[in-house]
Symmetry: none
Subunit: 193 residues, 4 copies
DNA sequence: AATGAATGAGCGTTCATTCAT
DNA sequence: TATGAATGAACGCTCATTCAT
């Protein structure tokens, strides 16, 4: 009996371990040797599981997208008012700040290569985006698409500011502020049909 | 009787032309040869003006930071209510969307290398950040720092969404929405002393 | 009236200042920029006086060869016995050790390039060699060519040992020893016709 | 199941083949491409075995030093008088003249770079020097350190003269002469205790 | 499946040399 | 005469990728 290894399973494990590497150094700056070394395998093995560096990167992005990026749901359930929920969201984001910063790095890197190279757009991004929308709806109960995008954009912006070492911005405070603003705004609006 | 060239002036001209290149391909992916070719000079000449690729990149970031990043002021003067001003700001950003997307690319790239390499933090970033704050104050008349960061974060997030090809997000609409939300929010608050 | 500068005179001055540079770094490792900088002129000026790096180097070797390499004569005159003269020679060499080490560096470098490149053998070396012979004769009164070469070889070897950081070898002691050996050897020999 | 190559063994083989190259062109003038080509490998392979040009050079010098530089011992055994032994030594050196000339080139080059760069002094040189002393003692039976250095310096000087294309100097004749001089000198001395 | 030796194009950078001023 | 900007081939070195084992 040969060594039974689930090829696909192992591939995914390797993939997971690549996240930090790509995020911290960037696609172009990280080398296959460094990746292999970090994974504890040889370059040959790496190429056994991934046809090329680009494919590895694309699969990584795909995997991250597919994963429940917002593990938030579970954590945010049970809260009551919009303001309370926004606060909980803020805390959740702040707690996972490092992860989301890396995720931003990866996305920006991916988009850059998508623009300039032959990297295939992969609809994983679209799917992820739709998931995000759904989460906002599920958690915050907001259905107006414009408001959803507003919230998502703010979150992106907050993480971007943190990524840029802006010590003045507090994710939790800003999320709480967003909660208040949303409340104030929605109270003024006539309830949509 | 040397060849008459204003060394410093020419250096800055070269620098300006590098912006798109670094933004579109990223620091690690663009090569000095490509840069030289794009600038219409030889690699030797490039190195006559910049001691290294890293120095070139740092000087570029410095230059962009120093430049009035928001030429907005002039364009936004004369508007009246906060909502009107936010709408004008939205239009301005939308008009210069491509530029700001590139600027985000550059900043993210710079931060990544700042983290992982010996790239000097250069306080140009800090200065730029302070400028941004000032602009929000001057143009929108908002003094509360938290609100300022809220607005800046949202703007960053909007541009980031556009960078990621999110066709669902409209910078102008979102800015207008921000205007309304700010108005609603400020009306509810007791006037600060 | 134009600025009157003796082109040839200035060329020789520049040449003299190059000695240390070539000796310390080697022909291939020293750059024309470094030389120019050390001389306090521009590379353009350097090329105004010397058609190429190789020509500069060849002229330098030529100049050193032509110069009275052994300023020894004057310093060694008046001494009496062979042993005394060898001792004086030893002191003289030890005093100028650094210079002679550099001179060895230069010669070895030159020979290496002569072998492997198209560098012209320049009979300056031959002339220098003849001078050396003459000096041995004049100072030490030794006419036997084999003995002359023996002495010159030993001197070369001593300097070479010093160049190689051999702290065990003392030029003065060894020269004194040579004096004694020569004396012992000559006494045993029947006087040549 | 890797490709079967004895890494260390192969490294040493490559090293051996580098001797002539470095000796004939000099450290700074020989290029890694030339070396690779001469060895019949690619530059990539060269760097697979040596981390840098400098390391390659240092390892080379180390290897030569460690090797029995004087294979002389075997060859010189069985001779009787000092004069006979010196003659045998002379013949041996003359026979391997080309090798020793190259070895001198290498040593001078190494010392130059040791002086001017961060090349580590490597005590291989010291060890080699001690070996040389031992050889003089073993072969010639001379224990006086000063005489040992005298002999070694003369040998160095003779090879240096040959390196400089001096056709007038004959290594064998000079060694024979040295034999006679030593004999004459030692006869005159009171035997040391 | 797994290894790591091997490749060679291409990278950042340097340098002898030229030439307009 | 003197300058230093400009060139581009070539340097030391790296890297994604291939392949014999």
């Amino acid at each position: 009996m040969p060594k039974i290894v689930d090829h696909d399973q192992y591939r995914k494990e390797l993939l997971s371990k690549c996240f930090d590497l790509f995020a911290e150094k960037g696609y172009a700056a990280i080398t296959m040797r460094q990746i292999a070394e970090s994974l504890g395998v040889s370059t040959g093995t790496l190429y056994h599981y991934f046809p090329s560096k680009q494919a590895l990167f694309e699969q990584l992005v795909e995997q991250i997208c597919e994963r429940d990026v917002f593990l938030a749901k579970a954590e945010l359930e049970g809260t009551q008012t919009l303001a309370e929920r926004m606060e909980a969201l803020g805390k959740f984001l702040a707690k996972n700040e490092d992860y989301y910063i890396k995720w931003i790095y990866l996305q920006v890197d991916f988009c850059q290569h998508q623009d300039s190279k032959e990297m295939q757009g992969s609809n994983a991004f679209q799917r992820a985006t739709e998931q995000y929308e759904q989460i906002i709806y599920d958690i915050l109960g907001i259905q107006d698409p414009m408001l959803t995008w507003f919230i998502l954009s703010l979150i992106d912006g907050l993480i971007l500011e943190r990524l840029m070492n802006n010590e003045m911005v507090s994710i939790t405070e800003q999320c709480a502020l967003l909660g208040k603003m949303l409340t104030a705004y929605l109270e003024k609006q006539p309830t949509p049909p």
